[in-house]
């Protein structure tokens, strides 16, 4: 007399276990665009870890008389030409991967963590927590980025930060995180407001679940969706914002180099007969962002059990 025996319309044969991560991988494999995106990101990851695999030229040997050489193709001395100072474009780009991607990763990751935490708390508890968070978001939104950058610059003036991998990106990371978490907080707050009144959240509350459990297990997974769509473009935003900061001396510290600095320099020569200086790092940036977009979409679909059955 019950309806349990009939197979569900979308179900697999009874008893087959369905592991969410296994399912996710199976779904990912079926989409060729995700494979391409994965390969692109892997190449950049290897580039960041072992830059010497891709170029033997040092980005710091910059003979000024070879400035703005056109690309010479593979096998040439300067496969992608040289920039306005005579530095090899390929070498600069390859050595710029590590600081650029690391900066993007750190900034987006930490901003996301701050934004999600504050947004979740504000949306869930409302009241004075929400008042405090919302006003703070507004204050940070109206302070101009450059003004704050100068402030941070003066704070760290004269302090030697060292030249390690993290040290060179510390200043831009602090500034960009300080002014990068607000959109996440706002989005998460809005989706939390929506999600916390869903029936299954009420159900968990009636079972006596703690606020932390409700937030982490029930509200967050369904509130995070809108935020993940922001991430790939945020990466691009961080990389180009770093270029602006480098003018003020709080970008990635020389002698380390970055895509942002390269794009900034290259843009001055687009019409000056040397567009390749800009194009090389720009294409890499666009490829990275597109790959992240594709992977982000695929991951979101794969982790949603409603779409995988």
């Amino acid at each position: 007399m019950n309806d349990a025996a009939t197979p569900t319309p979308t179900g697999r044969p009874a008893g087959t276990p369905s592991h969410p991560l296994g399912d996710a991988w199976r779904t990912l494999r079926r989409r060729p665009d995700t494979i391409i995106a994965t390969v692109v990101l892997l190449v950049f990851a290897v580039m960041a870890a072992f830059p010497r695999l891709f170029t033997t030229t040092s980005p710091r040997t910059c003979p000024i008389r070879e400035a703005r050489t056109d690309p010479q193709g593979w096998g040439g001395e300067h496969p992608l030409g040289t920039d306005s100072l005579g530095c090899d474009v390929l070498a600069t780009m390859v050595h710029g991967v590590r600081p650029s991607l690391l900066l993007a990763l750190v900034v987006v990751g930490v901003s996301l963590a701050i934004g999600v935490t504050l947004g979740l708390l504000a949306g869930y508890y409302l009241g004075w927590v929400d008042y405090l968070v919302s006003r703070t978001v507004e204050v940070f939104l109206v302070i101009p980025l450059l003004l704050a950058a100068l402030l941070v610059l003066s704070l760290f003036k004269g302090i030697d930060l060292g030249a390690g991998t993290f040290d060179v990106i510390l200043l831009p990371a602090v500034v960009l995180i300080l002014f990068g978490w607000m959109p996440y907080a706002r989005y998460v707050r809005a989706s939390t407001l929506e999600a916390k009144n869903l029936d299954y959240v009420t159900a968990a509350r009636s079972l006596g679940a703690s606020d932390l459990r409700i937030m982490v297990r029930h509200v967050l997974p369904n509130a995070i969706g809108t935020v993940t769509a922001l991430l790939p473009t945020s990466v691009a935003g961080v990389i180009s914002a770093e270029a602006v900061l480098s003018f003020l001396g709080i970008g990635v510290r020389p002698p380390a180099t970055s895509w942002g600095i390269q794009i900034e320099q290259g843009s001055q020569w687009v019409l000056g007969g040397a567009p390749h200086i800009l194009l090389a790092p720009l294409i890499c940036l666009v490829a990275t962002v597109l790959a992240l977009v594709v992977l982000g979409d695929a991951l979101r679909d794969a982790l949603d059990p409603r779409l995988t059955a």
Binding site: D3, T6, P7, P9
Partner: protein
């Protein structure tokens, strides 16, 4: 009072040529709708036929997924892009709508067939006043002036008995209660003086006391204007109160069609019979009589009669042969191999061999 009374319906709709008897405002014949899915085409409506006549109410009864709503979307040309009509005709006053382009189809329907949806809050635009929405079509398609449109909006609200209509045309949908919003929906459906009104679960979201008000309003307006009314619902109680004819749908097909009274007294299809038995108020104390299992998904139809896995009078033939449309009595149709037996209240003759609990 209101200037919205219509001429005698026969004058407007009596021009149906050819084979169709002249009194049908809307005649649906062998309508078949398929959805494209990754697993191949899936049939949501299968050879559905019905007629809607002036001044009469046809109730289409079915559970969710029975195809009752999809079939009306097909009639109105509002099917989603993944669905298409593969067979059949929809004749509105003699013209086959499915032969027209989608745009012409919509235009014809806009004038003569109107629809009332279940969720009035979702169907009304929150940023426009009620009066604006009521007369949008009148201004856009009939070129009515603003002043005339405002007057007409007040008339329409009066017609659906919204109190203080003159003031309320300036209000927004959220300022109306659920019942009042449904009245506004009905009013906007009546704005173009349709010949046929299709109401898809118009009272499902409402409380019983408000449901009674809205149903009564629909029935009164329909009687007054001699409209054809198609009432799509899952509630056999509602059907009994307002319908003249009933079409019971199951898994995309019409399993029983008859005038309203005999459906309740002598149902001719086991599904209708089981539905009537499972109404809680009628069964008194003791265990509720239920229909075991659940409707088949359109992608996995059982062989033979679609209802046979849940039928309490299943015989061997039901598992293999799709039942033809039987006519167990005048004006009645039942898609059951044993329609006459069921109607007479008899169990069909047993199979020769023992019928075990084969349930697949």
């Amino acid at each position: 009072m209101s200037a919205v009374t219509r001429p005698v319906p026969n004058g407007a709709s009596g021009s149906a040529p050819g084979s169709a008897p002249s009194s049908a405002l809307l005649e649906v014949t062998d309508l078949t709708v398929e959805f494209r899915t990754p697993g191949g085409p899936v049939r949501a409506v299968d050879r559905l036929s019905y007629r809607v006549e002036a001044g009469r109410t046809l109730a289409i009864v079915g559970e969710s997924g029975s195809g009752k709503s999809v079939s009306s979307l097909a009639v109105l040309g509002l099917l989603p892009d993944t669905a298409r009509v593969t067979h059949g005709s929809v004749r509105l006053a003699g013209t086959d709508l499915l032969g027209l382009s989608r745009k012409e189809h919509r235009a014809r329907c806009g004038d003569q067939v109107a629809m009332v949806f279940q969720d009035a809050l979702a169907a009304l635009n929150p940023v426009h006043t009620v009066g604006y929405q009521l007369t949008e079509a009148l201004r856009g398609r009939r070129g009515m002036s603003r002043a005339d449109a405002r007057k007409r909006a007040v008339e329409l609200l009066d017609l659906v008995k919204v109190p203080n209509a003159r003031a309320r045309v300036k209000e927004y949908p959220h300022q109306f209660s659920g019942g009042m919003r449904q009245r506004v929906m009905i009013a906007s459906a009546l704005a173009m003086d349709p010949d046929v009104l299709i109401a898809d679960e118009p009272t499902t979201a409402l409380d019983v006391t408000v449901q009674a008000q809205v149903l009564r309003l629909l029935a009164e307006i329909q009687a007054e204007r001699q409209m054809g009314l198609v009432l799509i619902t899952h509630d056999l109680g509602v059907v009994a109160g307002v319908a003249d004819d009933v079409t019971v749908m199951y898994a995309g097909t019409a399993v029983e069609q008859a005038p309203v009274a005999p459906v309740y007294t002598t149902p001719a299809h086991p599904y209708t019979r089981a539905l009537l038995r499972s109404i809680p108020s009628a069964s008194g104390a003791g265990r509720l009589s239920v229909i075991p299992g659940r409707p088949p998904s359109p992608g996995a139809m059982p062989a033979g009669c679609p209802f046979h896995p849940r039928c309490d009078a299943v015989r061997d033939v039901c598992r293999t042969d799709v039942p033809p449309a039987a006519v167990p009595a005048e004006d009645r149709m039942s898609a059951c191999h044993f329609a006459a037996d069921i109607m007479a209240g008899r169990e069909p003759a047993p199979d020769d061999k023992d019928t075990g609990g084969h349930d697949d």
